[in-house]
């Protein structure tokens, strides 16, 4: 049926476009017209292939050959050899990641193995509001297998063998957590799905809940069977109305099919799921705070131990897992712990979903095996830095994480390496920053968030973070001293050392990691009173360039605090003490006589 027998897809991603990929498309079209083949062969520009390090990229369909590092002058060779004679141009073929012999079929093409979708396997593929489509993708088969072929202990064993660790941020081994919960005897136990996702940079749990709600329901049932619980609770933030509605539909459909409720699949296993809503509190991502919130109270954490697995919701053993952690469980049961632990690094198994955002071309959700490097994520899948600016830092772990720089780009991403590098995995928010971002302001931004979200129960976090934020504001206003930097460090270390819960124990990380990696910027703010990336408004100096100013008085009239003096047709002058750095003069001056430095 297809009119064209062949398509040449030229990568139009901004990195490739900046190395003349549209010229390549042009020359390919010209070549094809000359050979009179325009009716059979079509050339079109596509989005980014995620191979930016090796661009520009041309893909030939249906033969599925991948040409990399193509130049406009290669176009005639491609048309002559491949389009006409049907022979691939070996020199340009993509050699796959490990330099194996060139492979062209995308199923086994080295390029594609960058991302493996396990938690997101159904997202964007099935209709989330139709349980049959989920079942068609082996949905509930894992639950069926557990209930009919495996004992609860075997299920726990599988999860332990798989090496799965918590995706909420802490990385606690899930199998161990289930085992502890299963050991504690009680008349009632609870399985809780932590869908609070308070980290401002993360949105992967939302995508899973909106795209594949059943995977979470099935996993909770499996967990209920493994630890001996009959009641599941999903604690979801009120800011996700669509996810709430899709979960409700999914729960109803699952109940109609008897996959939730009494005698599931004819066995005597009973399990049901209810929804519990957050109300806007980042701290409720912490297990004990979440449990208090579910009990209708202020979301204040309590000391651990006792861990929720011992005494949690209503004092009963409670197993709390993150959405993404749960979404991988059915796959582990279906494809086996061995298969799952073959992916990832030695101590961090499987894949991790990252919410890639910030100054990056391909903002998006990615799921990469543990062990992928930051460089691959940012410069290949992410499509490099926007507007061709220079990479400066990537922030992982949100307000509890840290900033990593150029020298960390080749670290294999996993729980332990990121902590060793001074950041942490966190829930997966990954914000890329370029040369225009001031790291002191970024640290201040995160502290502003923590001060707003701290529950206020313990003094190091309630007051300490406020003092950190005040000191950082002090520095960005140009009043900081070198002694302040030392005090920043001591306060941060003590807050980490003494806070009651994870929020306070990790809130100083952005400060500590920016101090460690960008001390020069702090010093610039403190001693030279300069903000190298020009973000800190109070450190900007507006001055008038003598030879450019014609004395048209436009700036003087625009200045809200009349800090600009000078006669008509005379060179004007800005009084630095009065100037509030609003930039009105800069905007008004038609002769570019206002300098900002």
């Amino acid at each position: 049926m297809a009119k064209f027998r062949m398509h040449l897809l030229v990568c139009g991603g901004s990195t490739c476009r900046s190395s003349e990929s549209d010229l390549i498309a042009e020359s390919l079209r010209r070549e094809i017209e000359e050979k009179g083949l325009q009716a059979e062969v079509q050339v079109i520009m596509t989005g980014c292939f995620g191979l930016c390090g090796k661009g520009p990229v041309v893909r030939v369909m249906p033969d599925n050959a991948f040409y990399v590092g193509v130049k406009p002058e290669d176009a005639p060779v491609i048309v002559a050899e491949h389009v006409i004679k049907g022979r691939r141009v070996q020199r340009l073929l993509y050699a796959g990641t490990a330099g194996k012999e060139p492979v062209s079929d995308p199923k086994h093409n080295g390029f594609h193995r960058k991302q493996i979708r396990i938690a997101l396997r159904n997202c964007g593929f099935i209709n989330p509001e139709d349980i049959d489509e989920y079942i068609a993708r082996d949905g509930y088969a894992a639950l069926g297998r557990c209930l009919t072929e495996m004992s609860p202990a075997q299920v726990v064993e599988q999860i332990k063998l798989s090496g799965l660790r918590g995706r909420g941020g802490g990385g606690f081994p899930t199998g161990l957590k289930w085992e502890i919960a299963s050991r504690n005897k009680a008349d009632q136990k609870y399985v809780v799905c932590n869908a609070d996702e308070g980290d401002p940079g993360a949105f992967m749990d939302r995508s899973v809940l909106e795209g594949d709600p059943h995977s979470v329901l099935e996993a909770m049932a499996i967990c209920g069977y493994a630890i001996g619980a009959t009641q599941g609770l999903i604690y979801i933030r009120a800011e996700y109305p669509l996810a709430i509605q899709r979960l409700k539909t999914a729960i109803k459909q699952a109940r109609d099919y008897g996959l939730l409720g009494e005698q599931i699949l004819g066995t005597n296993f009973m399990f049901d799921i209810e929804m519990r809503y957050g109300a806007g509190a980042f701290v409720c991502g912490e297990e004990t705070a979440l449990i208090h919130s579910m009990e209708g109270e202020r979301g204040e954490p309590t000391n651990k131990p006792p861990f929720p697995a011992e005494s949690g919701f209503l004092g009963k053993p409670t197993n709390v897992n993150n959405v993404e952690t749960l979404a991988s469980v059915p796959v582990i049961i279906n494809k086996g712990a061995g298969w799952f632990s073959s992916i990832g690094t030695e101590k961090s198994k499987g894949t991790k979903v990252f919410a890639l955002a910030g100054k990056i071309n391909n903002v998006g959700l990615i799921e990469v095996p543990m062990g992928t490097t930051l460089r691959e994520v940012i410069f290949e899948i992410g499509g490099g830095i926007k507007n061709g600016r220079k990479f400066k830092a990537v922030q992982t772990g949100g307000p509890s994480g840290g900033c990593l720089t150029e020298k960390h780009l080749d670290i294999a991403i996993d729980f332990d390496n990121l902590i060793a590098a001074g950041s942490m995995m966190g829930s997966g928010g990954m914000i890329v920053m370029d040369e225009d971002d001031c790291m002191v302001s970024v640290a201040k931004f995160f502290l502003e968030f923590t001060v707003e979200e701290s529950c206020g129960k313990c003094s190091p976090c309630r007051i300490g973070n406020k003092r950190l934020h005040e000191l950082l504001t002090h520095i960005t206003k140009g009043n900081g001293t070198m002694a302040d930097l030392e005090r920043l460090r001591n306060m941060s270390l003590v807050i980490k050392d003494t806070s009651l819960c994870g929020l306070g124990q990790s809130s100083p990380n952005p400060v500590l990691s920016t101090l460690a990696n960008f001390m020069d910027e702090y010093v610039a703010h403190v001693s030279e009173k300069k903000c190298p990336s020009g973000q800190c408004r109070d450190l900007m100096r507006y001055t008038i360039i003598y030879d450019k100013c014609v004395g048209c008085t436009a700036c003087a009239r625009a200045c809200p605090v009349n800090a600009i003096s000078g006669e008509r047709k005379e060179v004007h002058f800005i009084d630095q003490d009065k100037c509030i750095k609003c930039g009105a003069c800069f905007e008004k001056c038609k002769f570019a006589a206002v300098l900002i430095n």
């Binding site: 049926m1 398509h7 997101l120 995508s207 899973v208 004819g266 796959v331 494809k335 998006g364």
Partner: protein, 130 residues
Amino acid sequence: MGKLNSLADLTKIREESRHRIGLRAKSDSPEGLVQVRVAMATCGMAAGARTIMDFFADELDKRGIGAIVTPTGCMSYCYAEPTVEVQLPGTEPVVYGFVDLKRADEIIEKYIKNGELVEGIIPVNYETID
């Protein structure tokens, strides 16, 4: 189909729905239909996915093209929302990004009707376990 009372019931449903979806994808079968999947996550809808989905449903119907238009979750290409995956019977699905009404119309006319690719294809940069 009411309550599933055994693993066998589950397997039956799996086979049935796989068959149903499979049929749609086959070109030779009489039921070979064009499948249009629109990413309907919050972000997709904020970028206008609902109007795109309605457009596809109405226009394909009006133009007498046998098609199934279904919502899905997010396809993870935030920078290119709204994103739509189109699968002609017997071919690999193709994902289009930045789909506005103009491009949606182009997709129907050029790609669905006579298989001519349209600008703005988003190459699938991930492998999904089956």
